[in-house]
């Protein structure tokens, strides 16, 4: 054991490796409900080459490796289920390049969402990336690895769809470039027109390699941004309202939420529609298109735009949304966990019905929140519950409710997003066997010793 510690210290320096209990305690868990498990070592590399050396060491010693961003997924994806080495990527936080005209940025694998957002606002005020509603410390690489979503998801799909290149350290120790960067200095595409190999890593939760660089597509940042909130008491109508809205192609982002508290939100479903523009005219044109698209529902009294007072607007416009943290403390004790399956928008009524049923059955406070992905192609529906961390009974009730959500999701034809280990097993059991065999082939070939984030996507 001492030998491994020393060899890691030789790679990254003594101050960036630890097996001390206080650090082991911290890296054994994430903020969600999954049970902790201790790693043996924690290491913080600074370069791709250091990551490469750590992988080669782990390969030689057959030690599990768990790459970690900020550990914000909540579903235990960075909990070292079989011990080993947690590779905390946070020191690899440099923004390496911004190609303004081609609208992409290349960042290191531990660069946070907040760092890129701030950097662009300062140096490239006409560019932005798709900021997820996660804490600003969440990393870009981890977000695309879990197929995260963000503020531009309704326009451009999952955040992982916005990747335009990767650098990955393979379990073999090779450093591999994915996309146009494999034969050019320009990182404008993760695949096309070549075979798209990014799928060997995106969605795999670090079980096939460690992402050390990400190129991310950037998009125009308009001068003005505003929000309107359409309110309806008819959940059955939400899917067709979303259909009409997405047809306009005028919105930056579309979310839907319903929750019983505070009272202003009780009994209704709220479609929050974000719009952007470089001029008042552009903003107003988009607003009119959106309002007119929903006008039939106003006429039929099935819905209407609520007045959003100026004091409330900053909360809606916050990017990332910080109101989640307030929800997380409704029951005091700061517990928050959600299951966010990717599912058809037409399933919205069933999903809201289910969360109400579970909240009542398990006596939990809830918030239902959906983010529209693409032009209504699907949505992430968040079954979110808040609990008191000092109340084991409440935590257990939350676990049971989320477990029921998992069963429900599969019944509804949904697919788990950033699934827990148990959900991964459920997904693999249900998956087409031929698809499963491809996954197995990939995993066995890339990670023959099974050292990469073991316990996750265990197909081999």
């Amino acid at each position: 054991m001492k030998d491994i510690l020393n060899r890691l210290a030789e790679i990254v320096g003594e101050e960036h490796v630890s097996n001390q209990p206080e650090e082991i305690f911290y890296y054994a868990r994430d903020p969600g409900l999954m049970p902790p498990h201790n790693p043996d070592y924690v290491v913080l590399p600074r370069t791709s080459e250091q990551v490469q050396k750590i992988v080669l060491l782990a390969k030689e010693e057959k030690i599990p490796l768990v790459p970690m961003g900020a550990g914000m997924a909540l579903t235990g994806l960075i909990i070292p289920l079989k011990g080993g080495i947690v590779i905390d990527m946070k020191r690899m936080n440099r923004i390496l390049e911004v190609n303004e005209k081609a609208r992409y940025a290349i960042v290191e694998g531990g660069t946070s969402q907040g760092a890129l957002k701030a950097y662009l606002e300062k140096h490239y005020p006409r560019l932005r990336h798709s900021v997820p509603d996660a804490p600003a410390t969440a990393t870009i690489a981890a977000n695309v690895v879990i197929h995260g979503q963000g503020r531009l998801t309704q326009q451009y799909g999952f955040n992982s769809d916005m990747v335009s290149g990767l650098e990955v350290v393979l379990p073999s120790g090779k450093i591999c470039k994915i996309g146009s960067s494999s034969l050019s200095s320009a990182w404008f595409s993760k695949g096309a027109p070549l075979p798209d190999l990014s799928g060997l890593f995106l969605g795999w939760f670090g079980t096939t390699g460690i992402i050390t660089k990400v190129a991310l597509k950037l998009y125009p940042r308009k001068r003005f941004r505003d929000v309107d909130v359409f309110v309806t008491d008819s959940e059955e109508l939400v899917p067709e309202m979303v259909y009409e809205l997405t047809h306009t192609e005028m919105a930056e982002d579309i979310n839907v939420f319903s929750q019983p508290l505070p009272m202003i939100f009780k009994d209704n479903h709220h479609i929050t529609i974000f719009i952007t523009g470089d001029t008042d005219e552009e903003l107003e044109f988009k607003r009119k298109m959106i309002w007119d698209a929903l006008d039939p529902y106003i006429k039929s009294k099935d819905g209407g735009f609520m007045g959003v007072p100026p004091t409330m607007k900053p909360t809606f416009l916050d990017m990332p949304q910080r109101s989640v943290s307030r929800f997380a403390d409704v029951k005091k004790g700061g517990g928050f966990e959600y299951s966010g399956p990717i599912i058809l928008v037409e399933k919205y009524p069933q999903c809201t019905g289910k969360i109400r049923e579970l909240a009542s059955k398990y006596d939990l406070a809830y918030s239902a929140m959906a983010r529209i992905i693409g032009r209504g192609h699907c949505m992430m529906f968040g079954f979110a519950f808040t609990f008191n961390r000092s109340d084991p009974g409440m935590m257990e009730r939350t676990r049971k409710a989320l477990s029921e959500v998992s069963e429900f999701v599969l019944e509804m034809g949904g697919v788990f997003w950033k699934p827990t280990v148990d959900e991964q097993k459920m997904a693999l059991n249900k998956m087409d066997p031929n698809t499963l065999s491809i996954l197995r082939m990939i995993k066995e070939n890339l990670d023959p010793y099974g050292i990469m984030n073991p316990g996750n996507w265990e197909v081999a």
Partner: protein, 342 residues
């Protein structure tokens, strides 16, 4: 007892039909007015019940004290005719539900009521209020609920208003200065009309401001600015108090520009219109209103109702005018820094 009764006979003898002829949102011929109003009074259907946008204007246009707006509202309520989308109505009813989270200042015999408008918590301060503050109430428990006239839901007003009156009674106050027309209207006319005894003297804040400004006359530095005044719908419930607007402007040296859409001819801020009827009506009315302010050289747009200010404030600013509440304007004349500039 004060009544908000509609008398068919008074209506039938009306030579003008002003209540609906003057309506800025309804398209009706003079010879139709009496027929429609009588039909409504008799419980029959009328297109007016479907098309009234709840600007409250007819309540003032009718010079014969016949309360056409209350009649329309009551009949809509009886017939279950929605003015707003269901969800918006629910939202507003939920917002106003007492939750035991009210705020009480240091209660004296005379108090200020902020209703359920948090804007006043920051705004009401300085010399104008030094004789009263911090004697105030705020919260749903002291919220008049008159806004539900916009939703044609008098039931909720009748249900909650007695509880609100009781809450005031428990405080043992003798005079209440209301910072909003609806609240003043609730306790000066609506409650008595519903047979609810009001155990204190309601005072409109315009009246209070006017008296205080006279007391502080030596401290006033004339503003010498051109202002447009955005009259709120609820001002129609107590039109006699609207007369304080030019009097206050005179005291503080603000020139109230003579524009088309003022006084009886005032236009709605559009907030309710947007919620109830969508983009076009609200947008068109707001554009007409803003154009009128600009065309007549206003530098400031003065608001009486915080909800109007929330709706129009930013739009006013984009036209180059400064949005300001009446309280802030008066404070500015006393050399104090208005909330908007803090």
């Amino acid at each position: 007892m004060y009544k908000l009764h509609f008398d068919e006979n008074i209506c039938k003898k009306c030579p003008t039909g002003d209540c609906l002829i003057k309506c800025q949102y309804l398209d009706i011929e003079k010879n139709q007015v009496k027929d429609e109003m009588v039909k409504i009074a008799q419980g029959k259907d009328s297109f007016v019940l479907e098309q009234c946008v709840t600007c409250y204007g007819c309540e003032e246009y009718c010079r014969r004290g016949n309360h056409p707006f209350y009649l329309i509202t009551e009949k809509r309520d009886e017939k279950g005719i929605l003015t707003s989308p269901r969800a918006i109505t629910k939202q507003w009813i939920n917002i106003g539900e007492p939750r035991g989270k009210y705020q009480l200042g240091e209660i004296k015999e005379k108090i200020l009521s902020f209703g359920f408008m948090p804007e006043f918590l920051d705004m009401v301060k300085g010399k104008l209020f030094e004789d009263l503050m911090p004697s105030y109430v705020f919260g749903q428990e002291f919220f008049c609920n008159v806004v539900y006239l916009h939703f044609a839901n008098t039931q909720i007003i009748k249900q909650r208003l007695p509880m609100v009156v009781e809450n005031f009674r428990k405080l043992g106050v003798e005079e209440v200065v209301f910072m909003h027309d609806e609240c003043y209207g609730a306790f000066s006319s609506l409650a008595p009309a519903y047979g609810i005894e009001v155990p204190f003297k309601p005072i409109h804040y315009f009246e209070y401001l006017y008296q205080r400004l006279k007391d502080l006359a030596s401290d006033i530095k004339p503003l010498n600015i051109n202002v447009a005044y955005q009259r709120p719908c609820s001002s129609r419930l107590s039109p006699d108090k609207h007369r304080y607007v030019p009097k206050i402007m005179n005291l503080i040296g603000a020139n109230l520009v003579e524009r088309e859409y003022q006084d009886e001819n005032a236009l709605c801020c559009g907030g309710i219109f947007a919620m109830d009827y969508g983009y076009s009506l609200a947008h068109d009315v707001q554009e007409k209103n803003l154009e009128d302010m600009v065309a007549h050289g206003a530098e400031y747009c003065v608001f009486n109702c915080p909800a109007c200010q929330n709706t129009l404030g930013e739009k006013v600013r984009k036209r180059g005018l400064k949005p300001i509440h009446m309280v802030d304007l008066c404070r500015m004349a006393l050399g104090e820094t208005p909330k908007m500039e803090e």
